[in-house]
């Protein structure tokens, strides 16, 4: 090379060469989502028929538990703001979504005149599914607004006191929902105003008659020749993919680092220039949004009732247990814990009256044996087990496909690729230097 080393030109060349095609960038950053959708679709169409309706329903429960627990992980695990009123957000989102699908379906004229409830409308990805998806997002947005309100006290309160305020919030939502009247029958609801609809959300019995978009068994027909279900597993795991990707990207973004800093030491974080108030409130808003989405899925799941009694304090605690058991801030740990804690009560069901004592004992023992949770603050791929056994096997099977060249852990490296793509869009060259690849990611340093 004889060209004189002109830093400016070099930089310009590199930036120019890196100027991304927006479509390519979008496609690249979307691939995890596409991948997630493919998995969701495979779960629905291949796995579910293989495992049968009961396990398929369990898969739905697991999916929803993952969405809810991961959302709580954002505020509890990442930002360290201890919230024990998370079921309140779930309830807000669930009721908002149920309002949309139930009264919306009626207003759109999707029901038979003598119907007692609302049925799933249209086939897979039909207009009914569109309404359902809108309802999920709407539920999330309403819950996020509630999250904003609840997040504000976090500016003034810390630790246990904040937890107690969130608990108070959950209980207040519960009492208010209890005051409502029974859901209007379709005939009456057709002429109801919005205010009427909001007043009639079921009271203590719960929101009855919602269409069950989240049910698992479209491949089974009952005696009357009707499909017994809808592609609920697909929708659930679509949202699972979204929440996990969002949580992952949040964790590795500068914003997520700010949250982690707040968790570790608020004063130090503030000293380092982190806007702690903003970080905390935004954690609440994000967590509430996904809790609302989880609530919306739950509201439309088969074999559930959206009722204020069961979405109270106990449900919040169940979610906290998932986060603590999984490891505060560990995305994969929380996924695993949500899965285990959904399966475990089902396993013990045969024990009848001894079931809950056994479950409680198991909980205590796990907490004592493993106080840091299953994964601690690490992710699955940071564990030695993974590095020692999974990667070499994978290398043998797939010949190094998806494994970065450097000895390192697989998904973090991939994520770095992604973040560098994003960095490329608003040129920040340093990130792209090969040296960055060699430095181990921060998670490695975790105890």
């Amino acid at each position: 090379m004889t060209t004189p080393r002109d830093p400016t030109r070099l930089l310009a060349a590199r930036v120019g060469g890196f100027m991304p095609n927006p479509i390519v960038t979008a496609a690249r950053s979307l691939w995890p989502l596409v991948f997630g959708l493919v998995i969701a679709f495979a779960l629905q169409s291949l796995v579910a028929p293989m495992i049968g309706p009961f396990y398929a329903k369990m898969l739905l429960d697991i999916g929803i538990a993952i969405v809810l627990a991961s959302s709580l992980n954002i505020v509890n695990g990442f930002a360290g703001q201890f919230s024990i009123g998370h079921a309140g957000f779930m309830m807000v989102g669930g009721y908002a979504a149920a309002l949309v699908t139930y009264y919306g379906s009626i207003k759109l004229g999707w029901i038979a005149p003598d119907a007692y409830g609302v049925d799933v409308h249209g086939g897979f990805m039909g207009s009914g599914d569109a309404l359902f998806m809108f309802a999920c997002v709407f539920g999330g947005v309403v819950a996020a607004l509630a999250g904003l309100v609840v997040g504000l006290p976090s500016l003034r309160l810390r630790g246990d006191y904040l937890a107690i305020v969130t608990l108070g919030f959950g209980e207040i939502v519960r009492v208010l929902v209890q005051q409502s009247s029974e859901v209007l029958e379709p005939k009456v609801a057709a002429g109801a105003t919005l205010l009427d609809a909001v007043k009639h959300i079921g009271g203590p019995l719960g929101f009855t008659g919602t269409p069950t978009y989240v049910s698992a068994t479209p491949w089974i027909e009952n005696a009357a020749g009707e499909q017994t279900g809808h592609a609920g597993i697909f929708f659930t795991f679509m949202f699972v993919a979204i929440v996990l990707i969002a949580a992952y990207r949040l964790k590795s973004s500068s914003h997520g680092r700010a949250l982690l800093a707040v968790r570790e030491n608020e004063i130090a974080a503030e000293a380092m220039g982190v806007n702690t108030a903003r970080a905390k409130v935004s954690a609440f808003v994000m967590a509430a949004f996904f809790a609302g989405v989880g609530g919306a899925l739950f509201a439309h799941e088969i074999g559930t009732t959206l009722n204020p009694k069961e979405l109270g304090f106990q449900k919040s605690i169940d979610l906290v247990i998932m986060v603590v058991l999984g490891g505060m801030g560990s995305i994969t740990g929380v996924v695993l814990a949500a899965t285990i804690l959904t399966i475990l009560p089902e396993l013990f069901r045969e024990f009848a009256q001894y079931r809950m004592p056994v479950y409680a004992l198991a909980l205590i023992i796990v907490m004592i044996v493993r106080p840091q949770g299953l994964f601690g603050i690490k992710e699955l791929w940071d564990l030695k087990v993974w590095r020692r056994y999974v990667i070499p096997v994978w290398r043998k099977v797939a010949g190094g496909w998806l494994i970065p060249k450097q000895e390192g852990d697989l998904p973090i490296a991939m994520a770095r690729d992604l973040s560098s793509e994003r960095a490329g869009a608003q040129p920040a060259v340093a990130e792209d230097s090969p040296k960055a690849e060699a430095t181990p990611p921060d998670e490695d340093k975790a105890p």
């Binding site: 019995l205 719960g206 089974i220 088969i302 074999g303 009732t305 069901r349 009848a352």
Partner: protein, 431 residues
């Protein structure tokens, strides 16, 4: 952190879980008929779930001793839903698609029955709810039926009784967190107002509130002639006690949730003179009742409450339908259950109407001397009055001769004398 130890734990957990699920599948031999019962064996509603389960087991053992159904033994699988409507859904799914039950019994709480019923309906497995009183439970679900009253009917019964007793101004105190209580309160209010009565005040409590003196104080100042307290006996005793201490002297009125031998025990003197509507009265001399009470005491060493009786009846209605159905397929069995007519249950003659809801007449009993005493029979609207028992569905035994829906104060007083001899009570009303 010892990773290899951790791995072992994981492996053991996985093995255990595989074993546990494997065991689940084995249940139910091929030559037995398996029915499922989902109930609240643990959690806040366990009192009711365990009672119901005792009733169901008793019916089952009795039936198996008599040779089972269609020459086969019946097997029962009871699974706990921890008093949660959302677990009820999973339990029902499990009973249907893993254990392949031919029919289901459950639940007490309407919310749980709604969750479970939805799945039972979609998979075409007949389900009988022993005691879910909300009308939505069976609406539009032809596989789901029940053997208990609806809130609407019972509200009417108590309202009519109150009006007949000249209680024109009645206060309501209901549990706002319980759909059962709220439903009854609402139907009572509309029925009483329809009959020309007045609601003096409507107060609410939450099942967890041990102390309801503030509400009772408001009732006291409202000048009500009676207090309608729809709730379960677990709360009633405590609330009535408090009321008496605060100087609320008017009688209390209640629904079938009051029915238990514990009521008199907990309520003590405070509950004396209060009325409640019920399916039957366990002092009735009808053979079904006496036989049931004796058998139940022998088997479980406790007096059955209303929920045990309803569980017992639900199971027996199911067995009777199994006898009648040509096959045990969901469709045939469901149709056979829906066609139940004049079934001689412990809780009265059970006939299922077109919504598969039990149509029964109700009796009103009064607590006297620590025992409920028959006071009046009230029939559903549109039925001929019990004065003419020859036509129309036969009323429950004890009520048949009383002559009128209007309660006879005399009959209550008359039965008071016979209260010492348990089975002889209610003599004034007996034919």
């Amino acid at each position: 952190m010892n990773l290899s130890a951790w791995n072992k734990v994981l492996v053991i957990a996985a093995t255990l879980s595989a074993a546990a699920f494997g065991c689940g599948k084995k249940g139910g031999g091929s030559d037995a008929i398996l029915i499922g019962h989902y109930a609240s064996l643990t959690g806040s509603e366990a009192t009711f779930g365990v009672s119901t389960d005792h009733g169901v087991i008793l019916a089952l053992e009795e039936r198996n001793a008599a040779g089972g159904v269609k020459g086969k033994k019946i097997e029962l699988k009871t699974l706990d839903d921890a008093s949660k409507a959302n677990e009820a859904g999973s339990v029902v799914q499990r009973l249907i698609s893993e254990d392949h039950v031919v029919a289901l019994i459950g639940e007490v709480a309407s919310g749980s029955s709604l969750s479970g019923g939805k799945i039972a309906q979609q998979f075409g497995v007949p389900m009988i709810s022993p005691s879910s009183t909300n009308k939505k439970v069976t609406e539009g679900r032809d596989m789901v039926s029940r053997v208990c009253f609806l809130d609407e009917f019972q509200g009417y019964v108590v309202a009519k009784f109150a009006k007949d007793q000249k209680f024109d101004k009645v206060a309501i105190l209901f549990d706002q967190a319980a759909p059962y209580s709220k439903g009854l309160a609402e139907s009572f209010q509309s029925e009483l107002e329809g009959l020309g009565g007045v609601i003096a005040t409507k107060q609410a409590y939450t099942a967890g509130d041990a102390d309801v003196s503030a509400q009772l104080q408001s009732i006291k100042t409202s000048g009500a002639q009676a207090v309608f307290l729809p709730g379960y006996y677990t709360d009633v005793g405590n609330i009535v006690n408090q009321a008496r201490k605060l100087g609320v002297t008017v009688p209390f009125l209640g629904g079938d949730g009051w029915d238990s031998s514990k009521l008199a025990e907990i309520g003590g003197e405070a509950i004396e003179g209060s009325y409640y509507s019920n399916h039957y009265s366990f002092e009735e001399s009808r053979p079904e009742v006496q036989e049931f009470v004796t058998k139940f005491q022998k088997r479980w060493n406790e007096t059955p409450d209303g929920l045990a009786a309803l569980g017992y009846d639900a199971a027996r209605v199911l067995f009777a339908a199994m006898d009648k159905a040509p096959t045990l397929s969901g469709k045939d069995l469901g149709a056979a259950i829906a066609a139940t007519k004049d079934f001689p249950g412990v809780t009265g003659k059970i006939t299922l109407d077109k919504n598969r809801d039990a149509v029964k007449q109700a009796v009103v009993v009064q607590m006297k001397g620590g025992k409920p005493h028959y006071v009046a029979t009230i029939v559903p609207k549109g039925w001929p009055s019990p004065a003419t028992p020859a036509d129309g569905p036969a009323p429950t035994g004890a009520g048949s001769g009383s002559g009128s829906a209007a309660p006879a104060a005399g009959s209550a007083a008359g039965s008071d004398a016979g209260s010492d001899a348990g089975s002889a009570a209610g003599s004034a009303a007996k034919k």
